[in-house]
Amino acid sequence: MKPPLFDYLAPVSVEEAIAARARYQSSALLAGGQSLIPALNFRISHPEAVIDLKGIESLRGVELQGSEIVIGAMARHREVELDEAIFKANPLIRETLGHVAHIVIRNRGTVVGSLAHGDAAAEMPALFLATGGSVTARGPGGSREIAAGELYRFHLTTSLEPDELVTEARIPALPARTGWSFQEFARRRGDYALAGVCALITLEASGACQGARLSACGIASTPVRLVKAEEVLTGTSLETETVNEAGRAACAHVTAPDDNQTTSAFRKQLVQTLVTRTITRALARARARL
């Protein structure tokens, strides 16, 4: 298992990288490489050129800008995970990152790379949907913002153009009176989950549910917002029965077919269980923040 031959480019600016992309019929962007290089090793991916972003200074780092967390394209998972300011701004990020593969992979892999790769079973795209983030895509024609809800088309397929490059992702800080939880079920620690659920519950000062944002990975051809479950919760006082009903409602979003590990029926039960458990956890945290 060795990579096929490709041209290797290491641009030092975003402009240079975009120009390089335009020159090739097929090119792959290399950030952390934790998905790209296995694909090269298996020769599943055989781009004409690999464009390494490591030399582009402006893509590095993660910072809190007002109420937004801005993550550069070269910011590693682990860097974001360990950043205390980011943790304070939105603790869901660290909680979710803890489920992304293993520490050694997170040392190299990048958050933006994961978001742009668009694996339907990956955790960070689900978090991205639940938090309502956005990415900045740069192409030959300039920049555009893509909201999380507009990014994912199919497993490993996004609305990014082949000549575009995501320079950064933005994730909102946790709103007031909001509780969070990410939980998943994977056969082994660090594996892609059979199902994973992200929950954000925002309460009114009275304790009623002002809004819920729920998303899941591993259950459909893209990460999905669990809108039907959200609808059940909003405006209620979040009694146990309401939470359970949200769990049942979420099952409607499960469209992944049966596979070696899981039947669709089992996946629905997993989602129902995880939705109930994440809401319960998020609710407890939200109440603690009232």
Binding site: L5, F6, L30, P38, V104, R108
Partner: protein
């Protein structure tokens, strides 16, 4: 099944592949290295076959087994999931640079020996590099049973069943005074 001979007409193929080469400069185990390498050469193969640092092993080339773990700029990384050219300008540390120059084992290595934390030894360098990186990261390691197992997940061992590796990590933390003042 053509009539052509199975072997190359010239009897000998060229000494090395026809891949284009790029200049690579990096620091490995304290030594500055300059080599021309194919852009597709994996860092694991570069270390093993170009530099002869065969202590870094290769078990899956997919990032799952952890045998090829080295430190890139101070953090553990899979060398099978990096191109050698990506390491241009980087500082790499491998298992060969863990024991002292006089051969004295590092406390983590010593603990693996004392606790029977290895059998066939193939996965061992990857475990040691992972634990070393974790211990050097600027946080207090979680030395509970679950914490250590979490630290070790990401490295596969097919021989030991992990239990003696868990004991070795606990022992190493003690040898390195990382296990809190009350126990030291």
């Amino acid at each position: 099944m053509t009539g052509r001979s199975a072997e190359a007409p010239s009897a000998e193929a060229s000494e090395r592949s026809s891949d284009p080469r790029l200049l690579l400069r990096l620091t490995v185990n304290g030594a500055e290295i300059e080599r021309e390498v194919s852009p597709r050469l994996l860092l694991s193969d570069f270390l093993r076959h170009e530099l002869g640092l065969t202590g870094t092993h290769v078990g899956c080339e997919q990032g799952v087994c952890g045998c090829c773990t080295v430190m890139i700029d101070g953090r553990a990384a899979r060398s099978c999931l990096a191109l050698a050219v990506q390491a241009d300008g980087a500082t790499i540390r491998t298992i060969e640079d863990v024991a002292s120059a006089d051969g004295t084992l590092h406390p983590i290595q010593q603990a693996f020996q004392e606790c029977h934390g290895l059998q066939c030894g193939f996965c061992t360098p990857g475990f040691i590099m992972g634990v070393l990186s974790h211990f050097e990261e600027a946080r207090m390691p979680d030395l509970s049973e679950d914490g250590i197992r979490e630290m070790l997940s990401g490295n596969l061992c097919r021989c030991t069943g992990y239990q003696h590796i868990v004991a070795a990590v606990r022992r190493a933390a003690r040898l390195m005074n990382l296990d809190g003042p009350e126990k030291g």
